[in-house]
C-alpha cells in the first residue's frame, strides 16, 4: 500500500496540545497503530475522506504504540478509534468504523452537524 500524499497529519504527545488541543474548529483524531490490520484497511479510506474534507475539518493521527499517554487520556480501548473534537472538547467518537468512505464520512462529520 502506497500513500502518495499524507492528508492525515501525524501528531505526538509533544505536539498534541499545540496542534489539536488548542485548535478552534472541527478536528478528527485517529488513534491507530501500524501493527493493527483494521487501521491498515481504514487508512486509504481515511486519506480519501481527509482529502475531501480539506480545510473543513482537520484530521490527525496518533500512533498509540508511541503515545500511550494520549491513548490513556482519551480512554482508547481499541484501534482504530476516531475522536472528534471541537475547540478541544470531545463531541463524538467512532470505534472501528467500517472502512468505507460513506460510513467514515458520516462518522467524522455527523457530530459537528448535530451541534450546528
Amino acid at each position: 500500500m502506497t500513500v502518495a500524499t499524507d492528508f492525515v497529519r501525524p501528531v505526538t504527545g509533544e505536539t498534541f496540545d499545540a496542534l489539536v488541543g488548542t485548535r478552534s474548529g472541527p478536528v478528527a483524531v485517529e488513534f491507530m497503530s501500524y501493527g493493527c490490520e483494521h487501521c491498515r484497511l481504514l487508512e486509504p479510506v481515511l486519506q480519501e475522506v481527509a482529502e475531501t474534507l480539506g480545510s473543513q475539518e482537520a484530521v490527525f493521527r496518533v500512533n498509540i504504540a508511541i503515545d500511550q499517554e494520549l491513548a490513556n487520556r482519551y480512554l482508547i480501548e481499541g484501534t482504530p478509534t476516531l475522536v472528534m473534537l471541537l475547540n478541544g472538547e470531545e463531541v463524538g467518537r467512532a470505534v472501528g468504523p467500517d472502512p468505507s468512505v460513506k460510513v467514515l464520512w458520516d462518522e467524522v462529520t455527523r457530530p459537528f452537524e448535530e451541534l450546528a
Binding site: 500513500v3 497503530s33 501500524y34 501493527g35 490490520e37 491498515r40 500511550q68 480512554l75 481499541g78 467500517d98
Partner: protein, 170 residues
Amino acid sequence: MTIQEDLSKPILLFNDECAVCRVIARWVTQSAKRQAGGSPLIIRPIGNDPLALRALNPQLDIWDAYANIHLLMPDGSMRTNGEAVAETLRRLPSTRWLARSFDVRVFEKRPFQAILNVAYMVLADLRPLLGCESCGIPPPWLHPFHWIAQRIKGRVKPKNHTAVAMGHSM
C-alpha cells in the same frame, strides 16, 4: 529514530508486537550467530517510523511491512512472504542445506518453494489464533476456529478494531 544500518547485509524485519514473530526472530538471531565471520543477516523490529523504513528502502511501506515478512536485500530489492523465508534460510548456516531444495526446478516450476509459500500463508493466517492482536484479521476459512478460540478466552473480539490493553505499553 536514527537509522544507522549496515546495508551490506540483508535486513530481516519482524513485527515486534507479535509473539509468534518475536519467537521466530529470536531463533533466526541465534542461528545467525553461528555463522563464522559474523551474522549474515541484520534482524530488526519494524518500529513505528515510516520515514526510517523508507530510508532503508524507498519502496518499503510501513503498513506492508507489518502485513507480511520483508527481507531487504543489499542490492535494493525486497523479498516478501515465502521468498523472504527461503532467502533467510539460505543465509543461515544450519538451514542452508534445506534452502537448496527451494531452488529445485521441475518443469520450470519450483515445487518446494511453492509448498513453502503456502506454508507461510497458512502460518500468517494462523497468527491471530495464536494470540497475536496485531497480526491481522483471520481469513474466512479460520472464522469458526477464531470464534471458538475467543469463546475459550472468554471474550469476543469487537468487530473492526483491535483491542488495546489500557494503561499498558503496546
